[in-house]
């Protein structure tokens, strides 16, 4: 392990140019081998969750924005589970039968899931909007924070498959607001995860607005309501939080928050917060250190789209789409609006390159929600997935250029700064008409490619299985799971840099992402045709660095802070969580590639030095 004061700001600012261009052709050729196929496997998974938005008939605006979901390994068995949020009856809703609630489905392997909501105790019946996942007490088990319309909930993971509601003790209930995205982050670098809570609007039933287009009743837009400041809670490290909305600088700007995502956009080693606002300027909260933030969206040219317009923004993701060492942002939007792809220039500015990159092709006509910068074909470049579906259930009565139900859009990253709409040729999962809201991306079957879960408003979700291996892809991959020791347990905010030949990628451990959702705690790196990884660097919050060289591919690597890559204990399962060694193993179904990987165990080279670190 090495210490470092920051994140190589010098090297991080532009690796592109000749280098990137040089291997782009090679990667293009490589990428051509791998066709993305996402198969809709929803019906056979055992997931019977059906979302409700409250549907009062009175067109309350909150109905339109529900809900997000989370993919997380809540029980540490190495299989990623799914937690769906649901709305709840609103004033005037005809409700009979049991109250709708959130549902947790445990991944049994082999694309089978079991509803464990009752046993786990996470069936909140509040009006669920956003969710964040983070181990806020560093006990090794991911906790859940629900950002509701109404009181919020913090579920503490007991580590035995159950959770308990600790909201009151933790002090993060945050009143009766309309929530949005939420994120755990170590804002002060003290090893404890603080909590950012986005809010949408100031809504009450008394503030109900009714709207119509040519006499047809419609849901109102957010600008008819006063905006609402976001909130920030400092983790005291004793299981309680102190609200620090004002002292942190978060509360100075009222917005119409929707999707939120974390990223160290300026490579200063501190986690920043991006909030996309609905029909208002976006916020970029620059972390100044000491849990203080400054909103710099305008100055960084990320507040509006390329035309200076405040679009109806919905979901947001962060990722280095052009592998230049800088985190970029992708933001989805309303219909007849392009999404935005904010390319990080490395000089404190962003540039919306959605037009010339083609990252919005095929999505203009639909309302766009959950999104991900995700490498589906393991070519080393992050593709774009956009969940679609209108918020007006009767939109076709007034506008035949868009639809309530809409298929998702998949844009393949060509590795040259451009994207290609491959929705029509990427499997039946891209042909399913959905009413997407939250979308999550994780490797649900541990086969080395990223799958998709879509939460649909008023409907059952869709699970899209990535068939990359089945289509004969020769691309390799590496997944990295972090275990913080001095820093927060899951490594939220830590940056991983993976070097395989000319292919250099970065990713940061997220908490809260996309459209009011959470996914991707285990970082995924496609490697193209590279059969070894030259180097894996982990830059922990606070400056510590772990590094390994000559790492084998097609496996899940665990990096423990201060120890670097650690070998896994493979005993019939995919892999065993080091921290939770001795607990239940993976079920062993559907092993294929991943099973082989775990049995071979991780092979890591000697620890290595990175520039600026003391070795």
């Amino acid at each position: 392990m090495m210490g470092a004061s920051g994140r190589e700001p010098g090297t991080g600012f532009r690796l592109r140019g000749a280098l990137a261009a040089g291997f782009a052709a090679l990667l293009l050729a490589s990428a051509a081998e791998a066709q993305i196929v996402l198969r809709d496997v929803s019906s056979a998974t055992g997931i019977d969750f059906r979302h409700t938005d409250g549907s009062s008939g009175r067109h309350y605006i909150v109905e339109t924005v529900a809900s997000g979901l989370a993919t997380l390994d809540f029980d540490g068995d190495g299989l990623i589970d799914v937690y769906f949020l649901s709305g709840a009856p609103l004033r005037g809703t005809k409700a009979d039968g049991p109250l709708p609630k959130n549902h947790l489905y445990r991944n049994l392997g082999g694309w089978k899931f079991a509803d464990v909501t009752g046993r786990a105790g996470v069936g909140d019946t509040g009006f669920g909007l956003g969710v964040a996942v983070g181990d806020c007490d560093n006990d090794g088990w991911p906790d859940l924070y629900l950002n509701n319309f109404g009181p919020n909930v913090l579920y503490h993971n007991n580590g035995d498959g159950t959770f308990r509601d600790v909201t009151a003790r933790a002090g993060v209930g945050r009143g009766n607001k309309v929530g949005a995205g939420a994120n755990f982050l170590d804002a002060a670098g003290d090893g404890h995860l603080d909590l950012f809570v986005a809010n949408y609007i100031q809504f009450s039933y008394e503030l109900e607005r009714t709207e119509a287009i040519r006499g047809v009743p419609m849901y109102p837009g957010p600008l008819l309501y006063p905006p609402q400041p976001n909130q920030f809670f400092r983790n005291r490290g004793d299981g309680t939080f102190a609200e620090a909305t004002q002292s942190s600088g978060i509360g100075g700007d009222a917005g119409t928050g929707m999707g939120t995502v974390l990223a160290d956009y300026d490579n200063d080693g501190r986690t920043d917060i991006f909030v996309c606002n609905d029909a208002m300027r976006n916020f970029l909260f620059h972390n100044l250190g000491g849990a203080r933030f400054e909103e710099v969206g305008l100055a960084a040219a990320i507040a509006f789209n390329y035309g200076g317009a405040a679009y109806g923004n919905m979901g947001a993701d962060a990722g280095d789409y052009d592998n230049d060492g800088l985190v970029d942002f992708f933001v989805t939007s309303y219909h007849r609006q392009l999404p935005a792809l904010y390319r990080n220039s490395g000089d404190g500015f962003f540039e919306d390159v959605v037009n010339r990159s083609g990252a919005g092709r095929g999505a203009f006509g639909n309302v766009k929600w959950g999104c991900g910068l995700v490498d589906f074909d393991n070519d080393g470049f992050k593709d774009v997935f956009i969940g679609c579906g209108h918020l007006q259930d009767n939109i076709e009565a007034v506008d035949d250029t868009t639809t309530y139900l809409a298929a998702p859009v998949l844009l393949r990253n060509l590795g040259n700064g451009r994207f290609l709409n491959v929705s029509d040729s990427s499997g039946d999962g891209l042909k399913v008409k959905m009413v997407a809201r939250g979308v999550a991306f994780d490797d649900l079957d541990n086969d080395g490619d990223v799958d998709v879960v879509v939460l649909n408003s008023r409907r059952q979700p869709n699970l899209l299985r990535n068939m990359l291996n089945e289509t004969g892809s020769k691309h390799h991959w590496l997944q990295v799971q972090l275990r913080g020791v001095k820093t927060n347990r899951d490594g939220v905010g830590a940056r991983v840099r993976v070097v395989a030949g000319d292919l250099v990628q970065i990713a940061e451990v997220p908490s809260g992402r996309g459209y009011q959702s959470h996914y991707g705690s285990r970082l995924h790196f496609g490697l193209g045709s590279h059969e070894r990884v030259d180097r894996v660097e982990v830059h922990w919050i606070g400056g510590g660095v772990d590094c390994a060289e000559d790492v084998a591919v097609d496996r899940i690597a665990i990096v423990v802070e201060g120890r670097g890559l650690v070998p896994t204990t493979a005993s019939g399962g995919y892999w065993t969580n080091v921290h939770n060694s001795g607990r239940r193993k993976g079920s062993g179904v559907g092993r294929s590639k991943a099973g082989l990987a775990s049995e071979a165990a991780l092979i890591s080279g000697p620890s290595c030095c990175v520039p600026g670190a003391s070795c």
């Binding site: 040519r214 029909a279 390329y306 405040a310 390159v353 203009f364 250029t401």
Partner: protein, 398 residues
Amino acid sequence: MGEGRKSERPGAGSRFCGSCGTARKVGLWCVAAVAAAATGVYLSGSRSLRGRAPLEDGPPESAAAEQRAQPGGALSGQTGIEDQRPAPGSAQRPSESVPQTPASLYAEAYQVLKRLNERFPNSPDATEMMARLQSISGNTAEAVRLWKEILRSNPDYAYAHVGLGSVAAKKGEHEEAAEAFRRALAIHPQLTATYLDLADSLVKLGRVEEAAAVLRKYLEMEPRSAAGMILLGQAYLQSKEYEKAKTQFEAAILVTPDSPPAQYGLGTAYARLGQSEKSKQAMARCLELRSKLRSVTEDQRSLNDDLGLARENVEKLYSGAGRVYAAAGDLRQAEELWLKAAAVNPKGVDCRRQLVVLYRRSERFQDALEICRQLIEIDPGNADYQRVREVIQGRSRP
């Protein structure tokens, strides 16, 4: 020139486009352009409007004569102004009851346009009006059908291409949209607003340099168009020509100081040029303006309050329908529709301009002056209205 082609396709509404100087056929709206060019009285100002009428004499009657001369004879027997002179003072009559909801406004407009199409079944102009209503009403499939129907008999009917482009643009089919807009401009290069549509589609396709070229051409024709300057500035920003971008935004702000996108663009350009203080000032101004405009933003209006939009749309439809009647010589019906349009949209300019022309030519000077008064009230900064009023006042004196 042009006569040969005109005789080839005798369908009503195909006209010789004098303003282009070419032998091309255009839609109804070109008549106004021809008239304006002939009189030399253009009203300068914002982005050009379809069919904006000149306020002084022009050749609408030539179009009417052309229409009357066409086979079919449906319009034969229609006489000129003297035969149909409405009673003086109609401009000051209380307007008839106006529907107060978007749905009823559009429903009434549908009936008006249905009658128009029944009266002129072979008129592409009438069909185009109905297509526009269908498009506005969200029934773009029917609009597309109508525009294509027009193009089958009138391939050079520019506004049908514009309509098809607009639907493609709404759907995000920007390649098709750009192609349609280009076709329209090839037929009728004076359709200035279409340059903006074309540039917007090109920008969305990432073809920024092409868009910039289109916008430069547009600004040669409309040198005071803030919309054009802003779009060009944005194109320059995307091509990293920050100094040029700054120049465009500065020019736009001179025309429209209250434009948030212009201020934002200027702030961005300044920032890229390293002028951080100026950037901050422009950004602060942008936020201030956005805050002021928040309750009436386009986004909000289109999503939440479409009564104002419906009034504007229906006014334009009635103004256009009135022109079809006027072109056919039925000035009484034309006047009725323009008055109806004025009642529908108290801030409507297009219909009032038509009325000024009509009243002035029929020597109903008091009515013309009343409409001028309304125009000045609507747009007090437009010196042309003052000038036209003075002209009419001069002619109305014994």
